[in-house]
Every structure is written in structure tokens, then in C-alpha cells.
Amino acid sequence: MTREEILNELKSVFAPYTTNKEMLANINDQTDLITDLKINSANLVDIIIDAEAKYNIEIDYDSADKMINVGSCIDVISEKLNQK
């Protein structure tokens, strides 16, 4: 999968946890989940669990810790997909 494909799919993963639909439609690598998308920090755990189910991957604590913006989410997901 390309980074762009993952980015587009991530929009549906984030959608239940943000009310900022305009920002969501225009996310890029630098978009911060907490400060830009205004996602409750505890909901980052739900996003990680939803991403695991969607891509059939397992995200460990160290990887989860990195997932603070869209770019780092794509990094972690593509890394885990390549390990499969």
C-alpha cells in the first residue's frame, strides 16, 4: 500500500473521534491528532485498536507511543504491514 492510500483510509479511522470534519478532509503528514483534530488523548488508544483490526496488525507500546501525527501513524502502519 502507498502512503497516500493509507492516509485516505485513516480518515475513516479518525472520523468517529473528531468533530473537525474540515480538518479531517485535508489531513497531511504534519496533522497532529490531538492539537489539530482535537482528538481526546484517551481515544488514541481506540484509534490504535481500530487500526489494528483494519490492517490485521499488532501495534506494540513503543510504536503506539510514536503515533502522534498522521505521518507517524502511516510510518507505523506501513512498517507493520511490511513485517507481515
Partner: protein, 154 residues
């Protein structure tokens, strides 16, 4: 074990809403609380017509359904103990509750909680409250953080 978990509850007197733990495992908890007739909130909610506020119902569900279970899960992770010098500040991070029946002063309520997941320090549970007649009082999803996790920017 149940008594040890109760001893770790950080709430005091007027804001402690757990009397007994009747079942406790890694998958969930059942506990009960009897509303005290002299609780502070009945005097004003409502004057001459005391009814248990929804926020208190929510708090009872959170204390039994999330905090009791969360303490148990943390103790299990730490081989049966919580270090005494580690301050416990459970934080409610989200709730979605529907209310079905009023609870009056002196009534006993039974809270049943089923774990959805406990990961990265966050506990999410489906929680129901019944009265002693077995009728549903409230139900909903509860999430909380029971241990400080350093999520960056979090």
C-alpha cells in the same frame, strides 16, 4: 483480594460509592452500593423531593465498573500489589449512559461491568446498573485511565 482492592479506592466518605464487591475477575466486576439517605446531594436535588442525580449514578457505575476493576487489573500486572507510594488518580475519559429508572434515597443498586479492553493504560467497559428488584436503572460505555501513561502531547 476484594478487600485489598477496596482499600486502594482513593475516594473518601461522601464521595465513595462502593459497598461490596461480589464478583471480580480479569473480565469484569459485580458490586453494589446503597444510597445513604443523608447524602449531601439529596438536600438540594430536589428540595422536598430527593432523587439521585444522574451524575451520581454515573459516578457509582464508574467507581465500581472502572476503578475497582482497574485497581484489580493493575494489581494483577504487578503480581498482587500496588506500590503504596504510587499515587492513584483514576480519570474518567468518556462515558455514554442512558438512564431508565429513578433511584431514591436508601435504595441499593447493583453494578455489573464487562471489560471491552484494557490496553496502553486505558480501561473500557460496558456497565449496567440494576436495582434490587432486578430492573435496569442505567447502562452505557465507560472509559478511563487508571495509570498515568506518557502518550506524547497527551
Amino acid at each position: 483480594m476484594n478487600q485489598e482492592v477496596l482499600n486502594h479506592l482513593p475516594y473518601k466518605s461522601s464521595f465513595r460509592f462502593v459497598d461490596h464487591i461480589t464478583e471480580l475477575s480479569s473480565d469484569g466486576v459485580i458490586g453494589d452500593y446503597t444510597l445513604r439517605k443523608d447524602s449531601f446531594f439529596y438536600r438540594d436535588h430536589f428540595e422536598g423531593n430527593p432523587v439521585t442525580p444522574g451524575v451520581i449514578i454515573t459516578e457509582i457505575m464508574a467507581q465500581i465498573g472502572l476503578v475497582v476493576l482497574g485497581i484489580y487489573l493493575l494489581m494483577k500486572d504487578n503480581e498482587g500489589s500496588l506500590t503504596a507510594d504510587e499515587p492513584m488518580f483514576p480519570l474518567l475519559t468518556s462515558t455514554e449512559v442512558s438512564f431508565h429508572k429513578m433511584v431514591l434515597p436508601g435504595q441499593k443498586v447493583i453494578v455489573t461491568s464487562e471489560k471491552e479492553y484494557f490496553r496502553f493504560g486505558k480501561l473500557k467497559c460496558y456497565v449496567e446498573m440494576h436495582d434490587s428488584a432486578g430492573d435496569i436503572v442505567a447502562k452505557g460505555m465507560f472509559s478511563g485511565i487508571v495509570k498515568k501513561v506518557e502518550l506524547k502531547n497527551g
